[in-house]
Amino acid sequence: MTTRISARFTDLAAQGRPGLVTFITAGDPDTETSLEILRRLPAAGADIIELGVPFTDPMADGPAIQAGGLRALAAGQTLAKTLEMVRAFREGDDATPIVLMGYFNPIYIYGVPRFITDAKAAGVDGLIIVDLPPEEDAELCLPALEAGLDFIRLATPTTDEKRLPTVLAHTAGFVYYVSITGITGSAAPDANAVGTAVARIKQHTALPVAVGFGVRTPAQAAAIAAGADAVVVGSALVEAVRKTLDQDGKATANTVVAVETLVQELAEAVRGVTRQAAE
């Protein structure tokens, strides 16, 4: 079955370049502004969009994304509103893949079967659920895969050769390689080490590999993208939102533009990385 995610990676391979995956937190700083940012991401150069589902206790996230989530929750964001944002986005864009990224509890409370139905209907393509390792596949991974939602797993520097097959077993869409042992937005990864790790993962899977955590600048994005199928930038974009807010934490005229501009710069750098097409 061709999904939006597989179609996009096929397309990127044909163009002979890596992709840019952009992360924003749904509802940050409010639902409307966030939807406007979402709508502009594809034209600015985002190839795939990760939409963060806010959670009060994001144990794998650094200060930037923690704060973005709390801003969204304070403004009244809910999982239902996040799905509604995706539905609204799909009215104008049927090609750009959207992956929801977050933690399990809001989905568990929403109800897993209901969530899968509603996410599919809204136009969600994949899920990255940080606190659902393969050991808990029965919770959401397996029913989501059955319904045609890609379940994208995180592989990390601590995932050794022995464990890698377990991690990849029920992974679909792409593999997200976490470039550092750490939380989002912390230390910058070493591009050489990342390239080696990606090559190691590719010995075990035909899926594309995207790399993220700690990638902030266009130059870093280009360096990481050179050794992967795609690079993920998140905290830097969430920081871009924060820097434009007024003293009450409300969006200003600059908010949407600031994110758009940074995505354009990142995309330009990533698109400058060329490689032989159709390897």
Partner: protein
């Protein structure tokens, strides 16, 4: 669920107690958790590990803790014969040290030099700092900024013992946020760091490992009671935050059919007020900090803030084994308000000359309710899990005075 032959065989291989428990953690941590599980299994079966544990429990911790017949409290209440299991007499002043000793010995076995811990009231932090000093390990304690403010003596103790205390300002700046921050540290420093969790919660194997280390409380109780009364207890009662002191007392007796067991949850200003820390009485099952269990949350699955006068009970969750024991009806979980705990705090101090921790005062408050309804030959054991020295400032403030 099929009929059980025993309530003491859990968890299953995946760390589940009924629907509760499990391993809901980021992939970075999974290999470590599996490694920890294997290392613990090995240690548990190693007589050398058990021997060192037994020796340090006697000579360093000061065990066995006495089982004390609270004569005046019993007379005052006019019903059940009340015994106090004196965990507050342990080194560092609470039951927390039983678990920390076990985990630190395990960390040494695993070659980990750096220990991290979360703490609420500071009892677990002090116990961890103490054992790290004893064995020459680096110690970092995460503590909510709000708790740092209200538990200053314990912060000073930890620093005196050589630990680094990091105030956590994220989220609501209390215990749950300290645990988030400790998990973030662990994800970042996986290679050299051991996370010493203070209660029977978190991803498998923590809930069962911490329970094993604490279950010496119940084993001693059985032997001590046999000696003085020639028989076992009729009822057990203990305060439950995460629930480590409670499971430590209960586990030994889960299969004794006649024994009534009560866990006391912190009801703050009352369950109806919404300002409480009673996960079972006022929450529902969800997933946080590596396990499924009863949690306080809103309709969107966002975790809500707990409230209790006792910083040690001020947590929006509870250990998964307790959630299961509630689901199957083996243990009865009952609420106790701040006000009731304060009254019990004073009564126990005046009648027995023992100032209990505010956490333990919650259990005593329910003894005050239940003991009078029982006959005089009913033997009730309450876990006096900690001493109240750390709480005198908070209590003074609530009673309208100041120290």
């Amino acid at each position: 669920m099929t009929a059980l032959n025993s309530y003491r065989t859990g968890p299953d291989e995946g760390g589940h107690f009924g629907i509760h428990g499990g391993r809901f953690v980021a992939e970075t941590l999974m290999p470590l958790i599996l490694q920890l599980e294997a290392a613990y299994k090995e240690a548990k079966a190693d007589p050398a590990f058990q021997a060192q544990m037994a020796s340090d429990l006697v000579h360093y911790v000061g065990r066995p803790s006495p089982l004390y017949y609270a004569e005046r409290l019993t007379e005052h209440l006019g019903g059940a014969k009340v015994y106090l299991k004196r965990e507050e007499l342990n080194h560092t002043g609470s039951h927390k040290v039983n678990n920390v000793l076990g985990q630190i010995l395990l960390a040494r076995r695993m070659g980990k030099q750096r220990i991290i811990a979360e703490t609420g009231a500071g009892q677990h932090g002090v116990a961890t700092a103490t054992l790290c000093a004893r064995f020459g390990l680096d110690c970092v304690v995460y503590m909510g900024a709000v708790d740092v403010e209200r538990q200053k003596p314990n912060v000073f103790r930890m620093e005196m013992l050589g630990a680094k205390v990091i105030p956590v300002k994220s989220g609501s700046s209390t215990l749950k946020d300290a645990m988030n921050e400790a998990l973030r540290d662990w994800v970042t420093n996986v290679h050299d760091t051991f996370y010493c969790i203070g209660t029977v919660a978190g991803p498998h194997p923590y809930p069962s490992m911490v329970r094993d280390f604490q279950s010496i409380i119940g084993r001693e109780t059985r032997a001590q009671l046999q000696e003085v009364e020639g028989r076992g207890p009729d009822s057990l009662i203990a305060a439950v935050g995460g629930g480590s002191n409670a499971i430590g007392l209960f586990h030994e007796f889960l299969d004794d059919p006649g024994v009534e067991i009560y866990g006391v949850e912190a009801a703050g200003h009352g369950i109806a007020s919404g300002a409480h820390a009673a996960s079972i009485n006022g929450g529902r099952p969800g997933v946080l900090h590596g396990n499924r269990t009863y949690l306080l949350m809103d309709g969107d699955g966002q975790i809500t803030e707990a409230h209790s006068i006792s910083a040690g009970l001020d947590y929006p969750g509870i250990g998964p084994e307790h959630s299961w024991l509630h689901d199957i009806g083996r243990v009865k979980y009952i609420p106790c308000t701040d006000k009731e705990a304060l009254e019990a705090f004073q009564l126990c101090s005046k009648l027995e000359g023992i100032i209990p921790a505010l956490e333990s005062a919650h259990a005593i408050a329910k003894v005050m309710d239940i003991a009078p309804t029982k006959p005089r030959d009913h033997i009730m054991v309450v876990n006096l899990s900690g001493r109240g020295d750390k709480d005198i400032f908070a209590v003074a403030e609530h009673l309208g005075g100041q120290i």
